[in-house]
């Protein structure tokens, strides 16, 4: 057998400080809350001590953002654009360092942080930089105005990418921001603060406050925040929607999903198998739009599953910094516990569980790629978001049945459809109640393309021309 020797990406490109403060008004400052540790989920090694922003720290950040809003929003769009272009360029210049940092803090494979996350982050800033002086052409009136201060709370699955999705359009439209990264993955956001300084971004335009749920609550409930943007679980999204109800704040929510990936009998099978693997095992399945429900036409179910299992046998799980790793670490002990709990429930409810032979490292948080067959719509693993490398396989007989099953969920973020027949793709896409439909591909993202959900997957769109609306007073 051709065994690949370890090929670790060098850690030397990053310089992690022992402790980090908050980034407020262009300066790093201590937080008044109790600091917390962020760890490498692949080894449980402590990476750094990070400040917790208390309610008063959040208030300070919001005030800094408010102060900066006047000049930032009054600045010609072409000048704002140049700041954002600078940020895009610095991210490109420092992309390897940021990729390694992301993999260390998050547990995702370096191949993904290097080839997916970081290029998309830079592209997102590049794209929205170009909008800053063209807002009058976006279809929201001749001179659309920004909202003010945006309070943004992002998740741990794509820390820097979610930051880019939030900050780039906000700044382009003339808003200032206070952003809270997830408590398990704060490091790249803090590196981003340093990038803002390198770009000479005026103080207060971007503020980063670290902490857990309470810090996030303080931010979204702050009375001087005009706009709330949240990406995370549907449960927290619902709380936010409730707590800001009646406040007049503009809200966008990008929440959970339980995407159907529908494979018809005439699909290009080898590519469909790749798409299924990419759909659910990309980023350890920590993807809100993951294709976690495989709906396969019964006539090819056996053949497809055989091919899928064979392919899973070649997935390489292990050290996220190894350039050949396909599946990295689960982000946290809490998330691992949730994945285990739902998987156990799947077995208890009668679905059949399968994983390839796969040895898990002793330290850190790991879960093998897992397939459940014989899953019914009523099983918890077919209804609840696992947010892990767990695929539920269901079958269907006709296109109508596929659509019916795909839509039979409170979520509506994304879906996939695999067939060589174009008219079927378009028919299925038109019937699916989901914000993004991928045909003969999966988990594709681009700054020009709007992303967001139907139903309980949230509201508002990020990316593209549509993504501007969330940050304009329209």
């Amino acid at each position: 057998m051709f065994e690949y020797a370890p090929a670790p990406e060098s850690r030397d490109v990053v310089d992690i400080q022992p402790s980090y403060g908050l980034f407020i008004d262009g300066e790093f400052a201590d937080g008044t809350g109790k600091s917390f540790k962020t760890i490498n989920p692949a080894s449980e090694e402590v990476l750094a001590e990070v400040a917790t922003a208390s309610e008063e720290d959040v208030d300070r950040a919001v005030r800094a953002a408010r102060k900066a809003f006047g000049t930032w929003s009054a600045m010609p769009g072409s000048e704002r654009a140049k700041y954002i272009f600078r940020i895009a360029r610095i991210i490109q210049e420092r992309s390897r360092e940021l990729a390694v940092l992301e993999s260390l803090d998050n547990g995702k494979p370096i191949r993904e942080s290097r080839d997916v996350d970081l290029p998309l982050v830079a592209a997102h800033f590049f794209y929205y930089a170009g909008w800053a002086d063209k807002l009058g052409y976006a279809g929201y009136g001749a001179d659309p105005r920004p909202l003010g201060v945006a309070g943004q709370v992002i998740p741990w699955n794509f820390p820097l990418l979610m930051l880019a999705w939030k900050i780039a359009p906000a700044l382009a439209c003339g808003n200032t921001v206070v952003l809270k990264p997830a408590e398990t993955t704060p490091l790249t956001a803090l590196a981003f603060a340093e990038i803002c300084r390198q770009a000479d971004l005026p103080p207060g335009v971007v503020n980063i406050v670290t902490g857990a749920g309470e810090t996030g609550a303080a931010l979204v409930n702050h009375p001087d925040v005009n706009k709330v943007a949240f990406t995370g679980s549907t449960e927290v999204g619902r709380q936010i929607a409730r707590s800001v109800a009646g406040s007049g704040k503009k809200v966008t929510l990008e929440l959970g999903g339980k995407a159907a990936n529908i494979v018809f009998e005439d699909a290009a099978l080898d590519q469909a198998v790749e798409g299924i693997v990419n759909g659910i095992f990309f980023n350890q399945g920590h993807v809100c739009c993951a294709g976690s429900r495989l709906l396969v036409q019964e006539s090819i179910a056996t053949e497809l599953l055989e091919a899928l299992k064979r392919r899973l046998g070649t997935l390489r799980l292990g050290d996220p910094l190894d350039k050949n790793t396909d599946i990295g670490a689960i982000n946290s002990a809490a998330q691992l516990a949730r994945i285990r709990e739902l998987s156990d429930a799947g077995e208890a409810e009668g679905a059949e569980r399968w994983s390839p032979a796969c040895s898990l490292p002793d330290k850190g948080f790991w879960f093998p790629p897992t397939i459940f067959t014989g899953v019914a719509q009523s099983h918890r693993i077919a209804r609840e978001e696992v947010f892990g490398p767990v695929l539920s396989v269901l079958t269907f007989r006709t296109p109508a049945e596929a659509v019916e099953k795909a839509n039979n969920t409170p979520f509506g973020l994304s879906a996939g459809v695999w067939t060589e027949k174009g008219s079927r793709i378009l028919w299925v896409a038109s019937k699916l109640r989901a914000g993004v439909v991928w045909a003969n591909t999966f988990n594709k993202f681009d700054p020009t393309s709007p992303f967001g959900g139907y139903k309980e997957s949230g509201y508002g769109r990020e990316g593209g021309l549509h993504g501007l609306e969330a940050y304009l007073d329209v």
Binding site: S78, A81, K82, F85, A123, F126, Y127, A129, G130, W131, A132, D133, K134, Y137, A138, G139, P399, A400, G422, S423, R424, L426, W427, V428, S430, P447, T448, G464, L465
Partner: protein
């Protein structure tokens, strides 16, 4: 350095000093003889002399000798069209993101040569050359941003009454022949950038009176990852070359911005009618104003695709 040239160089240096930290040694050192640059054409990524072997004298606004610029012939124009056509497939097939990145790179490279352009523009009589160069850089940045946005603004999905998916999107028209205005940098950038950012390639006839900054711009383009042949720049007589480009059957569109002579414009438009070139002939150009999108859309085709929807 010749005696006749010295005054203008000195003026340029004085302006440079006023513009910022870009002073050059030459203002302090009058002993050393400068090595002058030969200004040539820019075709297919290379810098050839005119195949005709001709040149013409370019003078400063005060009438001092500046350089002998190449005087392009109809055969140079033909070669430039060939180069532009060859580049079209790759350039129009590049992702808009890639094209935007490259235009932004051009802006970066232009900014890094700011002092040189300020000097050259001053020599050719441009007032407030520093502001003009800044505006030219910003114009490039403006158009760089359009690369991946124009389709969202001008494209559409069309709700046809039937079981069809129907989408319209803009596509570049092809090879565009451009007569650049007598505004040697800002005007030149303002006509080139909107043509190429959407995926067209072009053959540009530079300002006849002040062609030197256009060749210096070619040096910027040649070092900005812009593929060879996307922009080709000819210097020489507009009256001589423009009709050949207007009549060329492998040119798809014609931008007559820089044609001031009414009779020449009509001659060109008539020649362009033969293969139904798209002709763009704006009136009253104010290069400092918001350029809008008309220069982008002037060189775009709209393609509509139908596809049935049905299980």
């Amino acid at each position: 350095m010749s005696k006749t040239e010295r005054p203008s160089r000195a003026r340029a240096s004085a302006e440079l000093a006023a513009e910022g930290p870009g002073e050059r040694a030459q203002s302090r050192d009058s002993v050393r003889l400068a090595v002058r640059k030969t200004y040539k054409l820019y075709i297919g990524g290379a810098f050839p002399r005119s195949e005709s072997g001709r040149s013409y004298v370019v003078t400063s606004s005060k009438g001092d000798f500046l350089a002998n610029a190449s005087k392009a012939s109809r055969k140079d124009a033909r070669d430039a069209v060939t180069a532009a056509r060859k580049a079209f497939g790759g350039w129009s097939g590049a992702t808009p993101y890639n094209r935007g990145q490259i235009l932004y790179r051009v802006a970066e490279m232009l900014e890094s040569r700011r002092a040189q352009f300020v000097a050259e523009l001053s020599e050719s009589g441009t007032k407030k050359a520093g502001e003009v160069v800044d505006a030219a850089v910003d114009r490039l940045v403006w158009y760089a941003g359009w690369a991946d946005k124009i389709a969202a603004v001008t494209g559409s999905t069309n709700p046809v009454a039937g079981p069809y998916f129907n989408i319209s999107s803009p596509e570049p028209t092809g090879v565009v022949a451009v007569v650049a205005p007598d505004e040697p940098l800002l005007g030149l950038i303002s006509v080139i950038a909107p043509v190429i950012v959407t995926g067209n390639t072009c053959v540009v006839i530079a300002s006849e009176r002040a062609p030197l900054p256009s060749i210096t711009l070619a040096e910027v383009l040649a070092t900005s990852d812009l593929p060879a042949g996307v922009v080709n720049i000819l210097t020489g007589s507009v009256k001589e070359i423009a009709p050949w480009l207007a009549a060329h059957m492998d040119v798809n569109a014609l931008d007559l911005t820089g044609v001031g002579d009414e009779n020449l414009a009509i001659t060109c438009e008539e020649a362009a009618a033969e293969n139904l070139k798209r002709v763009f002939r704006p009136t009253g150009a104010d290069w400092s104003a918001d350029p809008g999108t008309r220069r982008l859309t002037a060189f775009l085709e709209t393609k509509t695709v139908w596809h049935p929807t049905g299980a």
